[in-house]
Structures are given as structure tokens and as C-alpha cells.
Homo-oligomer: 256 residues x 2
């Protein structure tokens, strides 16, 4: 049985400043503009000196996207780099006939547009209300050029994403429906945990369709698998998310 005594992440306010490649600093004064998003504050532990961090954050402006709002479309020229501070983004690609593959969900702390290329390689929109730090791409590149040690971090971030992408290829190419869902839930639990949130309740802002388009399934199949896991008491479906009741069982199904 899972650790039900875990405190659910609920009321921690969001940072108004960018996490510098995985790290963040919170400014309480800005927290009020963003409702609870399930992420605890993380103390400063940055790749940047305090003075650099100040300069870095000065480059950004805070922006808010409403649920379903589109940040940009695949092929748009990449004016901005974003750092999510609150909420969830979906990044996706479309085939000409409308089939969609969600290549990733971004949570607080994640960057969009780190490739620094001329054009966005995917589309992005907000699943729930999202707040983010927006950097002008040119300014961001200049700053990185002036602080070359940041490039190492940038490169690390990119290769980490690549590793995730490769893991997802295994999931898409070689796993059965139930394994896909189990592996996804475990991965999500890991990410939330690292963000300091709950290890038990997973707030799923995305719909069954989103899940399906991420896992290479249909929404009906996702729904059936979730129902089955709930019937077996492996998970418990709650409003706006689900609770992992038997992580061991989930790992057994989604073992990697």
C-alpha cells in the first residue's frame, strides 16, 4: 500500500521568476497572481551567481495564458523562449489529416524553445491556466553568449530531453496499452516528486484525448485502461486527477 500519509501538494504559490535550467527562486510578491499549482518552492541553487541571476530574470517578463490558449504553432518563427512557472503546457505535432502526437507535457520549471532555432518545431498550448517567464529569443541568446558556462546547462537540458524522447519511443513502439498508461503515470509521479509535489495524487490537467495523443492510443482505450486499473484498486480516480494506490503493481505493469 502506498504512503497515504503523504501531504498532497495544494497551496504552494508559484514563482514569478524563471527557474534557471532546472532551479528556481521564488518572489512572494508575485505569487498572488497565480493560484495553487501543486509545486513547492525550491530554494536558490543556481548555475548563476546572484548578480547574473538578477540580470537573467530582468530579461524576462511574466506572461499568463488561459486554458486552451495557443502559445505558438509549429513553423512560427521562434520569437521567444519560455520558462513555465505554473500550469501545464502540451507540445504537439500534427499530421496533415489532423492526427496529433503530443511530444511532451511541460510542468513548472520546464523550458520551451531551448533549441534556440529560428522556428518552432512543434505547437504549444496551455492545458490549464499557465504562467510563464517569457524571454526574447535574441536577448536570451545574447545572455547565453555572454555567460558561456550556461551553454553547458543548456546542452545538458537538451540531452536530458533527448533521453526522455528516446524513452518515449520505446513506449510508443514497443509497449502495450496498459504498460503505456502505467509507465506514464510513474513518470509523471517522478516529475511531480522532483518538483516537490505529492507522490500520491497526480493532478491530471489533460483530458483522456491528450493522454491518448501522447501515448499513441485512442481516448476510449485510455479510459478503459484507467477504469481497469481503478477496478483493481491500483489507482483511484478523483476529480481532476488520480491517486496511485499501489505503486508496486504499477511498476510491475510498466516496468522499464
Amino acid at each position: 500500500m502506498a504512503d497515504l500519509n503523504d501531504v498532497d501538494a495544494t497551496g504552494s504559490p508559484c514563482s514569478g521568476e524563471a527557474r534557471v535550467l532546472g532551479q528556481t527562486r521564488c518572489r512572494a510578491a508575485q505569487a498572488a497572481s497565480c493560484d495553487s499549482c501543486g509545486v513547492k518552492d525550491v530554494s536558490v541553487c543556481s548555475a548563476l551567481e546572484a548578480v547574473e541571476l538578477e540580470a537573467f530574470n530582468a530579461l524576462s517578463e511574466k506572461v499568463i495564458f488561459r486554458s486552451k490558449e495557443t502559445l505558438f504553432l509549429q513553423g512560427d518563427d521562434a520569437r521567444a523562449v519560455y520558462n513555465v512557472t505554473c500550469g501545464t503546457l502540451r507540445l504537439y505535432k500534427l499530421l496533415p489529416d489532423g492526427r496529433r502526437q503530443i511530444v511532451g507535457f511541460l510542468l513548472p520549471g520546464d523550458f520551451v524553445g531551448l533549441s534556440l532555432s529560428e522556428r518552432y518545431g512543434f505547437s504549444a498550448d496551455a492545458i490549464d491556466q499557465v504562467s510563464a517567464c517569457r524571454f526574447d529569443r535574441g536577448d536570451f541568446i545574447d545572455f547565453v553568449d555572454r555567460n558561456p558556462h550556461l551553454l553547458r546547462r543548456l546542452h545538458q537540458a537538451a540531452t536530458h530531453e533527448l533521453t526522455l524522447a528516446q524513452d518515449h519511443m520505446v513506449l510508443l513502439g514497443r509497449r502495450a496499452a496498459e504498460e503505456k498508461v502505467a509507465a506514464f503515470l510513474l513518470a509523471m509521479r517522478g516529475r511531480l516528486r522532483r518538483l516537490g509535489g505529492s507522490a500520491v495524487t497526480i493532478p491530471l490537467a489533460m483530458t483522456r484525448q491528450d493522454l491518448a495523443d501522447h501515448l499513441g492510443l485512442t481516448l476510449e482505450t485510455v479510459s478503459r485502461v484507467v477504469s481497469k486499473l481503478a477496478r483493481e484498486k491500483t489507482i483511484l480516480v478523483v476529480p481532476d486527477g488520480l491517486r496511485i494506490m499501489d505503486a508496486g503493481r504499477l511498476e510491475q505493469i510498466g516496468a522499464s
Copy 2:
């Protein structure tokens, strides 16, 4: 009808020096050790000054792997970075029960291990005879640190790989068998073309099983699709590869 007059890439010798992040320089004296691999020489056009290039190449030693030889396994500690100069590598991940997902095929000019991380995130083995330049990972990192502009190239290479990975997710998650094969062939044609090879004949060193494990299919399905395309004269199966007879038709099937 496709351009049948295209000269097939056959006899061009391979470089004995690393391509510096996409560019290469050939040294005729070393070419003899490697049989034809379908890749034309590319003139020097490097991110490095001549003197740096010299230093860079001095870091590497030439290594040769026989067909089916394993370079490293997932989880091994990453002692080396490789630059393929001839032949084809497959990079793959295994599930505990033996299911395999090939995350990529590497052709001449491609680097392995650019993530510079402590451990390899996948396994790699040679499909045919492969020659490569081998860099000690520590030396490579030191060199990059001394030449920070190279980090930009490194980062570009990583994000390019990430883009390819995301495209492959679309293929794995949302495409039908025939589309998968068509898209793969077109992508391979593009890569070979960029390498200066033939646009018509695609030398497939990999088996049907390899293809299947890359595309998320079974070998039988791959075989059937290839047979079907051949029956329709879209492609022509030849020893050790195939010819694209009707690229338009292929694009129509595998449109992205």
C-alpha cells in the same frame, strides 16, 4: 518517374578523420583501410580553424568494428565519444523481456555520445563493418571547454537529434504501417542525399527485424509492406537495398 540517371554512390573512400559536428575532412592516406561506403568526400568547411581542427583530430584514434560487434551497452560508463566515418550503427534500448526499440541508425558523419553524460543511455552496435573516430570522453570535454564556440555546435547537434526524435514519435504513435515504411525510406533518402550519396538507391545494411524494431512493427509486416510497394513499382528491391522508383508516390503515402 524518378531520376534513374543518378549515379549510384559506390566507390568513394571514407574519411579517416572526424567530421566536426557535421563537416568532414578527408585524408587520402587513410582511405584505403575502409571499403566503399557510399559516401562522397566533403571538402573542409568547419566550425574550427585549421589549427584547431588539427588538434581536434589529434585527440581521436581510428577504430574499426566488425559487423554485429557491440560498441557499448546501455548503462555502461561512457568512456568514449565516437564519430562514424564509415558504415552504419544501430542505437537501441531493450525492455526487460527482450523487446527492442531502435532509437536511431547512425551514418557517416554522425556522433555517438554527444550528451557527454556519465553513462550511455542506449546500446550501440555495428550493423555492417564500421569505422569511427574514437575520442576519450574526458579529452573531448576538455577540448570543448577550451573552445566554447564548439558548445554552440554541440547544442545544435543535440537539438537537431531531439527534433528527429520528436518526428519519430509522430511516426511511432500516429502512423500506419505503410506510412511508417514510406516515411522511413524518404528520411533515409534525405540523409544519404545530404551525405552526397545517391538519391535513388538506398543501401539498407539493416535487416527487416532492425527496420521493424525501429518502426514499431514486426518483421513480417515490414516484409509485406516492402513487397507491396515493390509490387506497385513504387520501389525496386535489389541486393542489399532498394531503389526508389516513384518518390512522388512515396511522399503521397508518407506525407508529413
